[in-house]
């Protein structure tokens, strides 16, 4: 069985009734009744718990270093473009000012904001966006060569079946309808120049 569809909270399943029988809705039902009488505070606490786990200091340091890197890079490039004076600025002056601010903020974040809990950990669930991203990138790469229809169909099937836990039957049916609808809208009705096979 595909790992995502066996988890009770299906990714991208907002407002969804997991369609797969293995969706695991059953263990949640009794819990749901217990939760009926929560006060706002308890409800908020419950939401807080359901949030993805916070990432540690390492993730914060990494993002600060990326900011520092970008800031320093932009700083060097702006100096190379020439700064000029405030009265007669050259192209590099404004980017130079911004990159200075960025470097300062990056340093501040690296030292003071190290222990903030606002970054999210990458979990097993993060494989879903990664898969999604790969399909999107593949679609961008393939579209000029073979048109949008087949990549779009494959994208729909992967997203619905493997990321969304739909049944094969509804996946195939809906994917076909979706691609046909897009063909109708973008190619037949709007007559855009989107690369298409048929």
């Amino acid at each position: 069985m595909i790992q995502v569809s066996s988890s009770p909270s299906v990714p991208a399943g907002g407002g969804s009734r997991p369609a797969a029988p293995s969706g695991g809705n059953a263990p949640q039902a009794p819990g749901d009744d217990v939760l009926e009488d929560l006060t706002p505070e308890q409800l908020a606490a419950q939401w807080e718990e359901e949030k993805p786990p916070a990432a540690g200091a390492l993730a914060n340091a990494a993002s600060s270093l990326v900011v520092l890197g970008v800031g320093t890079g932009a700083l060097v490039l702006s100096v190379a473009m020439g700064l000029g004076t405030p009265a007669a600025p050259e192209p590099g002056l404004w980017p130079f000012m911004i990159s200075c601010v960025m470097v300062v903020l990056g340093l501040f974040q690296l030292t003071v904001g190290r222990h903030n809990r606002d970054a999210e950990k990458f979990t097993r669930m993060s494989s879903a966006p990664l898969t999604g991203l790969v399909t999107l990138a593949a679609m961008v790469a393939l579209m000029p060569a073979i048109g949008f229809e087949l990549p779009a169909l494959v994208l729909c099937i992967i997203w619905m079946r493997f990321l969304g836990g739909e049944t094969w039957r509804s996946t195939l049916l809906v994917s076909a309808i979706v691609v046909a609808a897009f063909y109708g809208i973008f190619v037949l009705a709007l007559n855009t120049s989107i690369p298409h096979l048929f």
Binding site: A12, E41, V70, L105, M143, I194
Partner: protein, 510 residues
């Protein structure tokens, strides 16, 4: 009565069939995305930006505005019926709305929310009608120095009032400003940060950035977000609230309208903050605060009124000063720029058709929404059956294909995917995407007015303090920069401790 002439002419603009149609499309889409958890109004507006290329500016903004305030109505439905806030601005509605639904008064809660939203929205439009021309005429004398100060202040306010970490929001804003410098320097014509790439020579378009960071980033993020499984809602009957319910809630609606109107104007304010402030205020004012959280009608009516009033009044800074007050308004700003319209104080005078057309379309939109959320609410409840697993690939495809149609180029599509990754990673690492997009939109305005004013002042930065308005704005800028410490202290003293966990956990859905 000269003042009223353009207002009345604005109605003629709204009543053109195509504008009415787009208004309807906008509010229906807004209602839908409000009902469906996942995509928020800003993401939807970003994804649909390519749609606006081939229509008149006024028509485009009428539709986009409809999506924005329509979402405020729709978000209520899931809050009340499923205890799942469709939008961040409806989170507090859950507390009393769901309890009312459990007591069999779901219809009453929805009815009160719709009527409150309608009154709040309408009161806010009336306020907008009278206040906007005043602000605009005041701002007509603004020179480059004032605009630099105003843009700086706007970016700072949006970054500091956002929910995430302030430093990270400011970093996001700095990245946005930096991205805006890519391309040809407007003063010298020299290329900046293009790395020899011809596609970048004219700078990065606003639309791929917005579609990527707001649209695709949000879609990717939602792929891993844990969602609670929703139960099929019970049937909603009797949405017309009784006279006693209305009397009980009327005070909350009146207070919510005023509170929402003013919080909406404030840069960085907006619907979410307005709804939370209204809930806190109603709870504080109530004679028996313990009723809150157990199905108090005021706890639904107040916040729902306030979020709609704020959504409407946040158009004031955009349409009169050309400074967007929040991320969604930054998208409107971008949409107007695409159309060749620069929002600013001269807009009321130079393009009254557009200005009053957009403002007056909100009356129509609110009436349409009232109809959709009272008698037709059952249809929207049915929409909840559409599964997100099916919606996600559809929205992703709309984004990619839509991005292609902007310039018929694959480069734009690639940019959208790249910025989609950036947007996703920003959300994962706790960086608000809103300030980035806002700063990007204001970037070139800020740079050009800064450089122009430095030319005027002969290169002396203290010149900003010789002009009263720019000096005031810059002093406010400094105050805002150092105020957060003082504000947290104040917040600790004024808000009841029980409110704390609620406010900290709400993540702005863009």
């Amino acid at each position: 009565m000269d003042f009223l002439n353009p207002v009345i002419n604005g109605f003629a603009v709204v009543l053109e069939p195509s504008n009415l149609l787009y208004c309807l499309i906008g509010v229906v889409i807004g209602m839908l995305i409000g009902v469906l958890p996942g995509l928020g109004p800003a993401a939807t507006i970003a994804i649909l930006l390519p749609l606006t290329y081939n229509v008149e500016p006024v028509t485009a903004i009428i539709m986009l505005a409809g999506i924005f305030y329509g979402a405020q109505y729709g978000g209520t439905i899931t809050s009340v019926l499923l205890r799942l806030p469709g939008e961040a601005s409806s989170v507090v509605t859950v507390f009393d709305g769901y309890q009312m639904a459990k007591q069999g008064k779901a219809g009453t809660a929805l009815g009160l929310a719709s009527i409150g939203s309608f009154i709040g929205g309408t009161a806010s439009i009336v306020g907008l009608t009278f206040l906007a021309p005043v602000v605009a005429s005041f701002a007509l004398d603004f020179g480059p120095a004032e605009y630099s100060a105003l843009a700086l202040l706007g970016i700072l306010l949006v970054a500091t009032i956002s929910n995430g970490a302030k430093t990270k929001a400011l970093i996001a804003a700095a990245v946005g400003l930096l991205l805006a410098t890519v391309g040809r320097d407007i003063f010298t014509g020299e290329s900046r940060f293009t790395f020899g790439n011809l596609e970048l020579a004219d700078g990065i378009d606003f639309v791929p950035i917005a579609m990527g960071i707001f649209g695709l980033g949000e879609i990717l993020y939602n792929l891993e977000e844990r969602h609670r499984a929703a139960k099929a809602p019970s049937k909603v009957t009797n949405v017309w609230p009784s006279r006693t319910d209305l009397t009980q809630a009327s005070g909350a609606i009146a207070r919510g309208s005023v509170l929402g109107f003013f919080l909406g104007i404030l840069p960085g304010g907006g619907a979410t903050i307005a709804s939370m402030a209204s809930y806190a205020m109603e709870k504080k004012r109530a004679k028996q605060p313990e009723r809150f959280g157990k199905g108090a009608p005021e706890g639904v009516a107040g916040p729902e009124t306030a979020n709609n009033a704020a959504a409407t009044s946040s158009f004031i800074p955009l349409l009169t000063l050309g400074i967007p007050a929040n991320a969604t308004m930054a998208l409107m700003f971008g949409a107007l720029l695409i159309q060749g319209v620069t929002p600013g104080p001269q807009l009321v005078e130079q393009d009254p058709g557009l200005f009053w057309g957009v403002v007056n379309s909100m009356y129509i939109g609110n009436i349409l929404l009232l109809i959709m959320s009272l008698p037709l609410v059952g249809i929207f409840v049915k929409i909840l059956r559409v599964r997100a697993a099916i919606l996600a690939p559809v929205t992703a495809l709309i984004t990619l294909l839509g991005a292609y149609t902007i310039n018929n180029s694959m480069f734009d599509v690639t940019l959208v995917v790249v910025f989609g990754i950036v947007g996703y990673l920003m959300k994962k690492f706790g960086f608000e995407p809103g300030p980035l997009v806002l700063a990007f939109v204001l970037g070139s305005l800020l740079e050009s007015s800064l450089r122009r004013s430095l030319l005027v002042f002969g290169g002396d930065p203290t010149g900003f303090f010789t002009r009263p308005i720019s000096a005031t704005l810059l002093i406010v800028f400094v105050l805002v920069a150092v105020l957060p410490g003082i504000r947290t202290l104040l917040a600790k003293r004024t808000t009841a401790p029980s409110e704390q966990p609620i406010t900290t956990k709400i993540k702005e859905k863009v």
